[in-house]
């Protein structure tokens, strides 16, 4: 276990920049999720850490040692591949033993460690099977055991759950987190699934177009997104574009004036991000708040969502705990007039330049 430092890591393919000066410090025993849409450079970053891709520029250090130019087999990383990449001609036990064999661990010790690793992922009884005789979830756990058994300095996972069905994904996710904590592994976990990243990681790195958008704990990213991209990618946000007209006042493009904390913003163009679950819906026209008409009510079980068209033409989505029978809100449907309110401090002003999550480029 050792800390991992990326220093202005960069990868160019011709004139295309896949990874754009990414700097990151993963502390010992920490799980950091690399999160971003498909094609944003997550896999490229991870493969540079593992040594399969040479960076164009920048430095990688593992436990203080500069490994930027070391071949993969001389770096102390344990990688779990998206396709699992098990050795098809070896049994489960042989797969797991491979790394120990390469490290010349004495046979008796290797056997004990393989057994312990397989027990750790609850596969002890399948040690003599071939990979193709296992289910997807079992193959995934073999891949985990194979990477863990060598006690890697850095544990790398590339979308390890994407080939599992929804139920299994949840199970293995919990399992990975438990193992990682128990063994105190320094871990980089790549995913495009924000829920996965939020529930799993100590800290998240949000990437877009190869550029780090924000680094922080799940709560920091959720409560204080650094820009519109993060606001839209982590959880959901309503976005209203407009201008800061004076201290504490924001006017939307449709002319709606709102009280908003404007610290750090000079008068000028800005965007306002507002979480749906921070908005309260009050049936009818009330004095304080913003009024509009309900366009759509979506029942989601525990919560109900109201899509509201404001008088100026802009739209906001509000999420409320599903009202109980008898609550006047229960009777609100499409076409009804409602009033929306929210605490001013939950509004977050952001620079207006970046749009909603982009989904461009390759895999």
């Amino acid at each position: 276990m050792s800390e991992l430092v990326l220093d202005r890591l960069r990868k160019e393919y011709g004139s295309f920049v896949a990874v754009d000066d990414v700097s990151l410090h993963v502390r010992e025993g920490e799980l950091v999720a690399l999160l971003g849409p498909s094609g944003c450079g997550k896999t490229t970053t991870l493969r540079m850490i593992a040594g399969f891709i040479e960076p164009t520029a920048g430095r990688i250090t593992i436990g203080g040692r500069d490994v930027t130019w070391d071949p993969p087999y001389r770096r102390d990383t344990g990688m779990v591949f998206q396709s699992y990449a098990l050795f098809p001609h070896m049994t489960v036990a042989q797969n797991v033993a491979f790394g120990l064999e390469m490290r010349k661990v004495p046979r008796a010790e290797a056997e004990t460690r393989v057994r312990r690793a397989l027990d750790l992922v609850r596969l002890g009884h399948l040690a003599d099977r071939l990979p193709r005789q296992l289910s997807g979830g079992q193959q995934q756990r073999v891949a985990l055991a194979r990477a863990l058994v060598v006690n890697p300095g850095v544990f790398l996972l590339d979308e390890p759950l994407s080939n599992l069905d929804a139920k299994l994904r949840l199970e293995v996710r919990v399992e990975i987190r438990e193992l990682q904590k128990r063994l105190g592994l320094t871990t980089v976990f790549v995913t495009h699934d924000q829920e996965e990243a939020l529930t799993l990681a100590d800290r998240l790195v949000v990437l877009d177009h190869g550029v780090v958008q924000q680094v922080g704990t799940p709560e920091e990213l959720y409560e204080a997104p650094a820009n519109l991209f993060v606001a839209g990618f982590i959880g959901r946000s309503n976005v209203l574009r407009g201008r800061v007209v004076e201290r504490g006042r924001f006017v939307t493009e449709a002319g709606l004036a709102l009280a908003v904390p404007t610290d750090g913003f000079e008068p000028g163009a800005a965007a306002l991000a507002l979480r749906p679950e921070r908005i309260t819906v009050i049936p009818g026209a009330a004095g304080n708040g913003v009024s509009g008409r309900v366009a759509l009510v979506t029942y989601l079980g525990a919560a109900t969502e109201y899509r509201v068209t404001l008088d100026g033409g802009e739209s906001l989505t509000a999420s409320m705990a599903t009202p109980r029978p008898g609550d006047p809100l229960k009777r609100v449907g499409a076409g009804d007039v409602v009033t929306l309110t929210w605490p001013a401090e939950t509004c977050r002003l952001l620079a207006p330049d970046r749009g909603a999550p982009t989904d461009e480029g390759g895999s």
């Binding site: 593992a50 993969p72 087999y73 344990g78």
Partner: protein, 277 residues
């Protein structure tokens, strides 16, 4: 409702029977020459006519007694084995390079190595014959009617098959598996030996089998490269036919069929041929 259901079921069943009948017919037409060859090899009379007057094993006796068949068989085995060994080793290396590396002339090399597949054997054989004469003059060394001359010629038969079969098996190989080995500490050579090579095994086995058969049964390319006392089995059979038409030739052919059939069955035990070809 019920009659419609029964009609559909009948139709489905009829369809299945038609399919089976077609399959049986195809098999029949493929195997009919084989069946006839084996049958005729047992005929009593010298001039083949139907129905047989009786059955005998004397044509087999004759086949084994004649030196041209015994020597031919031995030479064919030798040539096929050597051509397979050299062709599969070099062909597999070439296939690996072609699939794994990007280098100038890669496509051209691929086309070149598959080339012999599209050249008629008799043309290739004639060209080789002329080429060997030239080389003999320059090197002052025999090539026609020699073992090495035959082996070199037959490598032209074994390389294209190997390149095709091994390339196919390499293309289907997930590179992440090799990366996983390197990630676990295996250097390039260990990775190749412990991971890549075993995963190429089915392709290599199939390539060896097909190379062997291609060489063992080749007639056209070999025709001009043999000489007195150095004749492969197929050429020896052709020579025999020039003077005599008796069931001996069918007996030799039967031995050939049994050998190739046995090779395929043995191979199939190690790798399922239906999965590769």
């Amino acid at each position: 409702m019920a009659p419609a259901g029964r009609a559909a079921r009948l139709k489905r069943r009829a369809g299945r029977w038609v399919l089976r009948a077609i399959a049986a017919l195809v098999f029949f037409f493929i195997f009919i020459p084989v069946i006839f060859v084996v049958w005729i090899s047992l005929f009593q009379q010298q001039i083949v006519s139907f129905p047989p007057e009786g059955y005998t094993l004397r044509w087999y006796e004759n086949a084994f007694a004649r030196t041209e068949f015994r020597d031919g068989f031995g030479l064919s085995l030798q040539v096929a084995f050597l051509a397979m060994l050299i062709g599969v080793t070099s062909g597999a290396a070439a296939a690996y390079a072609i699939v794994r590396f990007r280098f100038p002339g890669r496509e051209a090399l691929n086309t070149l190595l598959l080339g012999p597949l599209v050249v008629p054997g008799i043309v290739a054989g004639t060209s080789l014959y002329v080429y060997y004469i030239m080389v003999e003059n320059i090197l002052d060394m025999d090539f026609r009617a020699t073992l090495h001359g035959l082996v070199l010629g037959h490598i032209l038969l074994t390389i294209p098959w190997t390149v095709r079969l091994v390339s196919a098996s390499l293309i289907g190989l997930d590179r992440a598996v090799e990366e996983a080995a390197m990630n676990l500490g295996a250097g390039p050579w260990t990775t190749f030996r412990r991971i890549t090579l075993p995963m190429m095994r089915p392709g290599l086995v199939a390539a060896s089998l097909f190379s062997f058969i291609q060489s063992f049964e080749n007639l056209e390319l070999t025709l001009l490269l043999v000489g007195p006392g150095r004749t492969t089995l197929p050429v020896a059979m052709l020579n025999y036919l020039e003077f005599r038409i008796d069931p001996t030739i069918a007996a030799v052919a039967t031995v050939q069929i049994v050998l190739i059939g046995a090779l395929m069955l043995i191979t199939d035990r190690f790798v399922k041929l239906s999965r590769i070809v």
